[in-house]
């Protein structure tokens, strides 16, 4: 290999290494240890969404309005709210995905969420086995463990062959 392409390949390799942490930061990974109050209070009704899926500003607004939490009373005592606030602030999304608070502070209205699910027909969201875009484990087998990889998807029961195309793409 002549010196010039070798240098170019080194530059590319270093560039990749430099970019990698930024990618990692944008991944919706679940912290290895979820706060016990987060699991007990939030994950009773829905998945323990990885806190990186929303910016800190969204989490703070959500905690302030728990008595009217997307149509449900999810109110908590002040001490628990304080614990959750500190933990969510420390673990909230900070990368590109979390740069803008989504409308209504809904994960499902984030640009990245809409983009990554654009091929899912609306009839699929309405399947009884899916029910809601908030029900991640209907398709993401590893959602409870914070894994949302495209290569670890399950087909929810009731999917027609045509609807299933998005799963094999």
């Amino acid at each position: 290999m002549s010196p010039l392409p070798r240098m170019a390949s080194r530059v590319i390799a270093w560039a990749c290494l430099a970019i990698a942490p930024a990618w990692a930061d944008d991944r919706p990974s679940t912290p290895q240890r979820l706060h016990p109050a987060y699991v007990a209070e939030c994950a009773s009704c829905h998945l323990a969404y990885p806190p990186t899926m929303l910016p800190a500003a969204s989490w703070h607004r959500i905690l302030k309005g728990l008595d009217q939490h997307y149509g449900v009373d999810a109110s908590l005592d002040e001490a628990t709210v304080r614990q959750l606030s500190a933990w969510l602030s420390a673990n909230a999304g900070t990368g590109r995905r979390a740069a803008v608070a989504p409308p209504d502070d809904r994960i499902t209205r984030s640009n990245w969420f809409v983009r990554e699910h654009r091929d899912i027909p609306s009839a699929v969201w309405a399947l009884p086995s899916v029910k809601s875009a908030a029900h991640c484990p209907a398709c993401h087998r590893g959602a409870e463990q914070g894994r949302f990889d495209d290569n670890d998807l399950v087909r929810p029961p009731g999917l027609t062959p045509a609807q299933g195309r998005a799963w094999s793409d």
Binding site: D73, A74, A134, H135
Partner: protein, 141 residues
Amino acid sequence: MNARHTPHRLVRHGTAALLALTLLASLAQAADTTPAAQLERFSQLAGRPGDATRGQAFFTARHGGEWSCSSCHGAPPTTAGRHASTGKRIEPLAPAANPGALTDTAKVDKWFRRNCKDVAQRECTADEKADVLAYLIKVTP
């Protein structure tokens, strides 16, 4: 003998493991009460015993809103339910099907407060809570 395997160490490790298990168990289920004690508490507040038939009617009826208790907990609530808006699995509410149900006073109070507001747009009365508890305790798979 290797210092790592002295009996003293083993006892200490055993104690630590036991403590960790106890802590985990307490986190999973506080268990400071029994379903019967909760029924007694609300029956006393109501000034009459809970009525399972009235409890069943309350549990399965909508009270002017979109949901009934059974929208999420099922009817009868002896198998796992699903949250009406998120689809999340909810463990069975009937103690006959779930030994951990209704065994934590704070949880009983918290969920009655929240869920009555979602179903009835108000907090439930002691009479209603006693009736629902009587029904939940009576219902079997």
